[in-house]
Structures are given as C-alpha cells and as structure tokens.
Symmetry: C2
Subunit: 207 residues, 2 copies
C-alpha cells in the first residue's frame, strides 16, 4: 500500500512471540503490523494502519486503493475482511506457525494434522477466489484495490512455503502473474527466510 | 451506529448455520452482519458495513463515531479490531456456540472445557480493558466511538448469558453503566432469546 502510494517505508524485523517489553509497550497484544512515524504515536493493527494511510491520502487525491463508489467499496471491505481474518485464521496462521513459528522457537516438528486441515481449508478458499476472479479483473471488482494486495501477500507467503497448487486455479494464477509483475512487487520476490529456501514457483514470473 | 446517527434500521432474524440459499447468495461465507438497502447491492461484513455508514455520514458532518484526529482514529481502529476479532475469536464466539448455537441446532449440551477456556480468556481481556478504562472516559480515548459500541455489544451478550463478573472490573462497570443508560441502548436491553432468560444484571441499569 505504501509503495503503491509512493510513501517511504522501512521494514524492521520483529519476533512477536518474544514479547519484548519495548514491543508490547507499543502493541499490547503483541500483534503486527505496527506503523511508526517519528513524532507521532504508533499505529497498531492492520485496520488502524490501512485507515491511517488512506486518510492521509484523502487530502492529496491519487488513484486510490479504496474504491470511490459505494458498492465497489463495500465489496472491497467484504473481501479484505475475508482475507485478513478468515483466510488467515483458517489457513495462513496455521501454516506459518507449524512451518516457521515452531522452527524459529526450536519447538520441534510441524503438526501434520494441523497442516493437513490448513491445506484442505486453503482448497476451499481458493475455489471461491478462483470463481470470483473468473468474472472480474481484480479481487474487489473492476479496479485494483487493497484486497488484491492482501490476497497477494497471503498467497505469496503460502507459495514460498510450497503450499500453493497453481495448476488447479488458472484464474487466480493469471491474476497473481499480473500482481507479481508489478514493479512494487519485485522486492518481495527477493525476500528470503534464513535457512529455508523458497519454492520453485515463488520468484518465477512465468510459474 | 445507525441509531446514534439517526439512520432507520430494521433488524431481521437470520440463522446463519442454516446456510439458506437466499442468504448465502448474498453472504457467501454465511457471515453476519449484512446491510441491505433497497435498490443497492448488499453490504457484507462488519468492516464493509461500518465504512459504508461512515462514508455516508461524511457528506453530512455529524459528531462522528470515528474520531477526526489521526492518533485518536488509529487508537479507535486498533481497539475495534481487538474487539471484533480477538475478543470474538477467543471468547464470545465460543460462548455463543456452546450456549446458544448447539442448543438451537439440537446438538446437545455445551462443551464445559471450551466454556472454561473462554472464561479464562475473558478474564485476561477484561483486565486489559479495565486498565484502559481507568485512564480514559471511553474505550478509544476521550471521545465515544465505534469501539465503545463494539465492546458494549460483546459484553452485553456475555452478560445476558451470565458470563460477566462485574465485581472484578469497576472501571468497566462504570463505563458500561454509562453506555447502558444511553437512550439508543434501551431497546437492546429488552431483547430476549426465546426460552433462555437473561441474567439478573442484563437489563438492570444499577447492576
């Protein structure tokens, strides 16, 4: 969102489960993201961050990532909520916890049954998004919006870990190929988790 | 929110787990709320509904439920997210499912261990909100906001079912007494679940 709006943003690595005092003083539930701007109070959570960035844009009109028309805006928020909370709660957070969280904390091997459940849930979610993308160019409708970046962020994470089966979801693959080829997406494709190589499709623009 | 803004709203009883075709055609994930206005597409989910109502107000300025100052707005969205998703996921949805959902579907008795976990989680959440309300008049800060209505909705539900221990949380009780005495809150206190009486404190303004 910041890159698309041309706002400079510097990322800092945070390990939320360490619950470091300096971090929980800012984010009491030890959740991410936290947006910090010098001389202003910290902004905690995806909704606060999205709205802070969007309101700031409102004073200097740009081709926005929140649609202007009421119906398109409602559809965008519906799907953004789906991705940030439902898809995350039923798929992404399990995969991240089992494959990365446990490993990073030295707590042993992934729970295979949790991963199996997450995979089955992912299949259901992708059926829905593939059906949606069969009838529109972007997740939220005719315009690119925050919903596209949210879904791309989740699928990119799952793809890195080898959990995306792109063959079954042609519409989603075509849409994701377009997202991937945007200049602002390129730095993400260079991201690497130390000691864990990305899947073959992760950075491939022609996957 | 609608009552506070003076927008007429008619509630319709929906039983989401029936997944009736007419309902899932509008809300594909069978989630609530759904906001329906004649001649306009349905608006699905809390974020879409909140933003639709708020944008509509933007053209006719009122004493808003979303704070105007950036820092207050960020704090409001942080806590609104906490209530709508974290408190709901860790407390309210378990209590509703075990005490009301199962019963309504004729699926037997509540899972005691789920209720015990929800109760323990509720205690932690309430410690936090009580600490917050010790230093400010409203959940989000110095102004009443959407966060107050969200928390009041959850606590009201839990109170109906006898799950609120008001003795332990004096700051929250004082705040909730103020919410309860607002005229727009009165009709909610008359709500009843068929065959399940409300707790003694539910409708009592002097609990």
């Amino acid at each position: 969102m910041c890159a698309e709006y041309g706002l400079p943003l510097e990322l800092e690595p945070i390990i939320p489960w360490k619950r470091e005092a300096e971090f929980t003083a800012v984010s009491p539930a030890a959740t991410l993201p936290v947006l910090i701007e010098e001389g202003a109070p910290a902004i905690v959570g995806p909704l606060a961050a999205i709205n802070a960035i969007e309101y700031r844009q409102a004073s200097a009109p740009v081709a926005g990532l929140v649609p202007g028309a009421a119906a398109a805006r409602a559809e965008m928020w519906r799907l953004l909520e789906w991705i940030l909370f439902k898809l995350n709660d039923e798929v992404t957070r399990y995969v991240l916890e089992e494959k990365l969280g446990k490993r990073a904390r030295g707590e042993g091997t992934p729970d295979v049954s949790a991963l199996r459940a997450a995979k089955a849930n992912l299949g259901e979610h992708m059926l829905y998004f593939d059906w949606i993308l069969a009838s529109r160019n972007w997740v939220g409708g005719g315009e690119m919006s925050l919903a596209d970046f949210a879904l791309a962020a989740h699928l990119s994470t799952l793809d890195y870990l080898g959990d995306m089966d792109w063959n079954a979801i042609g519409e989603t693959r075509d849409w994701y190929a377009r997202m991937k080829s945007r200049p602002i997406f390129r730095p993400l494709l260079a991201d690497r988790v130390v000691g864990m190589p990305a899947s073959a499709t992760y950075a491939d623009l022609d996957f």
